[in-house]
């Protein structure tokens, strides 16, 4: 029997020209499906989507002329062609004016630091080089709207940082392109995005500027607690406390005196609730290793909107 899964459910949002918008959510939330619908690689079963005023279903060809997409994970390139051949091929598919092809290809390769290896086959490239070449491919048609689907997936920290800076400064600020970024790296979204939308189980659950969303978060403070001897009962009873808005458990790799450490993020109404929370943990025979009170981060928002209480 085939199970029908509703990948997206009444997702509704707008992105302004020249904006860098982040679509955030856990794996399987519907981020890639949204991107693929907007760049015409998937056809929705219902509803409407427009890119620069063009209907993605009825005017797909007009949409394809003005968009491009970069996906993480080393796909969308011909490994047996050189970097330069890949770009020239895609320049032909996009009908880039012939007199501009060489300059544009060389310019993009230079911008991404690939000039020295431009005539090597892509199969000889490192993962980071392939991803940079993907960005070149994504910009080959000088798109008005660029879709970035987890573009830094699996990249070294430095390369990912350079890529983020390039997209933010060059592509959006200098060239004024509109960018839709999907990621589940919250620091990436925090660093890059003008606005973000949180998507969970196919539904858009929150949208806005990161600072606005943080301000409007039901609980203004989070206590991050590292704890050993944590039990399910302790978590359940903590959730029942009136001062606690939300409790999230996350993976934490570490041990203290041979005991596994768990990480809890507890959303509380105000800082005065902290002693009560810690007292409760002690009463439940949990050993608190450390705690840290802080204002909400994008990660807290992510957990708040996409995680379970």
């Amino acid at each position: 029997m085939t199970t029908v899964i509703r990948a997206l459910d009444r997702v509704d949002f707008e992105i302004q020209d020249g904006e860098l918008f982040g679509l955030l959510g856990p794996n399987g939330a519907g981020k890639t499906t949204t991107v693929k619908i907007l760049c015409t690689l998937l056809e929705p079963t219902g509803g409407h989507a427009f890119v620069k005023g063009y209907d993605v279903v009825k005017q797909g060809e007009c949409v394809r002329k003005i968009v491009n997409m970069v996906a993480g994970g080393e796909r969308m390139l011909y490994y047996r062609l050189t970097g330069r051949e890949n770009l020239k091929y895609f320049a032909d598919l996009y009908d880039v004016p012939r007199r501009e092809v060489t300059a544009r290809v060389n310019g993009l390769l230079g911008l991404m630091g690939l000039s020295d290896r431009a005539d090597d086959e892509v199969e000889k490239y490192s993962k980071g080089m392939r991803q940079r070449l993907q960005v070149c491919r994504g910009l080959i048609n000088d798109p008005e709207v660029l879709f970035l689907d987890e573009p830094t997936l699996g990249l070294d920290i430095n390369i990912a940082k350079d890529l983020r800076s390039f997209i933010r400064e060059k592509v959006v600020r200098e060239q004024g392109k509109t960018v839709l970024l999907t990621t589940h790296y919250m620091y990436e979204a925090e660093e890059m995005c003008d606005r973000v939308g949180f998507i969970s189980k196919g539904k858009l659950v929150a949208i806005g500027r990161p600072d606005e969303l943080k301000r409007n978060m039901p609980s203004g403070f989070s206590v991050e607690i590292l704890v050993t001897q944590l039990t399910d009962e302790a978590i359940s009873s903590l959730r029942r406390l009136e001062i606690v808005k939300k409790v999230i458990t996350t993976d934490y790799e570490g041990e203290v005196e041979g005991e596994k450490v768990d990480r809890l993020i507890v959303n509380v109404a105000n800082e005065k609730a902290v002693p009560q929370v810690l007292g409760h943990m002690a009463a439940e025979h949990c050993r608190v290793v450390s705690f840290n009170l802080r204002g909400p981060t994008l990660e807290d928002l992510f957990m708040f909107y996409t995680g379970d209480r």
Partner: protein, 271 residues
């Protein structure tokens, strides 16, 4: 724009195939080996003949020539089946989405891919020439060179456009290349590749006449080996020309349909 995409797609497909000196070597070596194989296979039958009936005329053809033409045109047909399968590898590589993300004309992409495989077939022609030089026993009887050239060109175009239609099956479905396996044996049988068509049970003949390979084999064999003129093979040439138009039109319609369905069923990627 159309011609630019056709050329880009054909060059890319060939580059992806001929990606190293080793692939060049084998591309040349294998047809040469095939030529030698043909030589020794048909040597015992040299000087034998076969009768071929077409349009109420009977032509006596050299048996070795009959068989070699059959084998080479059939090889071309299988090359066109492989043109379809190339989209399957694009899906595996994740490049199918990158190609269809562009606004490039879909028929131009199909044509480019099919032409690349047709160019690959040229290596088979080398085998043909070398085989025939070796097998000097083959009795070639050409009286109308224009009819021969037209037969070759129309056979070539009919199978290229058929290849375009088959490519759409691979855009449509992740399992489109299964068609390759399904079609090979029936086409070999129905087209009269290995025996004269008049030996076929009558009720199967309508199926034979649906295949471009049937008319291609008839036209090329008769003009090359049977001394047939344009008038003698006019029916076969007309059928081939009609098929070129039908397959090309069909590929345009199927390309749009296949892409739309693949986007609805999310089958442009393997995983």
């Amino acid at each position: 724009m159309f011609a630019r995409v056709v050329l880009a797609e054909a060059v890319k497909s060939l580059r992806v195939y001929f990606f190293s000196a080793r692939t060049f070597f084998w591309a040349l070596a294998l047809p040469l080996g095939n030529g030698l194989y043909l030589y020794f296979l048909y040597l015992p039958f040299a000087k034998n003949s076969v009768n071929l009936q077409f349009n109420s005329g009977t032509y006596t053809l050299d048996l070795v020539g009959f068989t070699i033409v059959g084998q080479l045109l059939y090889s071309f047909f299988t090359m066109m089946l492989l043109a379809g399968a190339s989209f399957d590898s694009e899906r595996w590589q994740g490049t199918l989405e990158a190609v269809l993300l562009s606004p490039a004309n879909r028929v131009a992409i199909l044509l480019g891919g099919a032409l690349a495989n047709a160019v690959n077939y040229m290596w088979m022609l080398i085998a043909l020439v070398l085989s025939w030089i070796a097998i000097i026993h083959v009795n070639i009887r050409v009286t109308d060179y224009f009819a021969l050239v037209l037969s070759l060109v129309l056979s070539y175009l009919a199978m290229v456009t058929l290849g375009m239609c088959l490519e759409t099956a691979d855009i449509y479905s992740k399992r489109g290349s299964i068609l390759t396996g399904w079609l090979q044996e029936p086409v070999m049988f129905l087209s009269g590749q290995v025996f004269p068509l008049q030996s076929m049970p009558g009720f199967l003949l309508p199926f034979s006449y649906l295949l471009p390979l049937t008319f291609g084999l008839m036209a090329v064999r008769l003009t090359l080996l049977g001394g047939a003129s344009m008038l003698n093979v006019a029916t076969a040439l007309a059928a081939l020309a009609s098929m070129v138009i039908i397959f090309f039109t069909l590929s345009m319609l199927l390309a749009n349909y296949a892409e739309k369905r693949a986007k609805q069923k999310a089958t442009l990627t393997e995983f």
